[in-house]
Subunit: 159 residues, 2 copies
Amino acid sequence: MPFVHLFRRYLRDQGLPVTQQRELIAEVVFASSDHLSVEEIEEQLRARGERIGKATIYRTLEMLVKSGLVAEHDFGEGFKRYEHLFGQMPVHEHLICTECGKVTEIQSPELVRVQEEVASRHGFQAARHRLEIYGLCAACQAAGRKLEWEGLTCPIETL
Amino acid sequence: MPFVHLFRRYLRDQGLPVTQQRELIAEVVFASSDHLSVEEIEEQLRARGERIGKATIYRTLEMLVKSGLVAEHDFGEGFKRYEHLFGQMPVHEHLICTECGKVTEIQSPELVRVQEEVASRHGFQAARHRLEIYGLCAACQAAGRKLEWEGLTCPIETL
DNA sequence: GTAATTGCAAAGGATTTGCAACAGT
DNA sequence: ACTGTTGCAAATCCTTTGCAATTAC
């Protein structure tokens, strides 16, 4: 993992100790191209034979997020997920498949442009945004899976 | 509250009892144009002199969401918020002020069109989306408040 | 009357915090 | 040495669930 030293540098700049645990957690997060949950990070650490307390994982993730090296996401699962930002598109959106859970990252300057335009039309100064599109990924469509019409038993128009 | 009878109708259609508690909770949600938390709903009920258990509020909100009359939101505060959908734009996005917490709803067919286009370009069949733009609302800008540059102590480029 | 709901309290899951033992500088 | 971290367990927060008493139909 060639990126752990960036986190080391960040910690030193902040006058914070560089501990084994922090390096290991950073390694796991930087090594994965997925959106990891705390549970999954703990698993991967165990798979490496490392036993690190959950509290330390949470505390280290907070620093990784503050450092700007890692982003925190909430896809409405009841817990958070984390992804490192190396070699990533600086601004990207998420396509989330409701059938298989696959998350695809996409980039669209046009989308960003329209968002900014719409915001400023309302006198709003946009700083950051979150766009998640839920639906069926290509693989699930090919497999013949269909979207379930969650919770639309009684649309307003028909009442 | 002229809309409570829609919820009554929904309950009857489903063969579910129309209870006082359900009507009162629906009234509170339908009466507010805000995005209410369960805590806030409970407060408003107390203000009316009604004492309804939290469990009942959660259970009733679940039905209101299933009925399609109310939408559930998670703005990353650690709890959910609810808004009724009467006289609302059917598809709308949220502008969230990080200074004062004000939530503005906007509608943009262009945004929706671009989103669908981008998704389908990736072979993705979009069903619904969530767009939240965080930044400074017009009032906060006028008041001279500035965006705090949360967690960007150490941007990647400078490492 | 019967079946479903209510409300309380207990359980649940994710995250946080207090604190004694420990590691980094 | 001194300061900050670790890890465990307890605490916290939002939400769900079990169950006896109550209400809707």
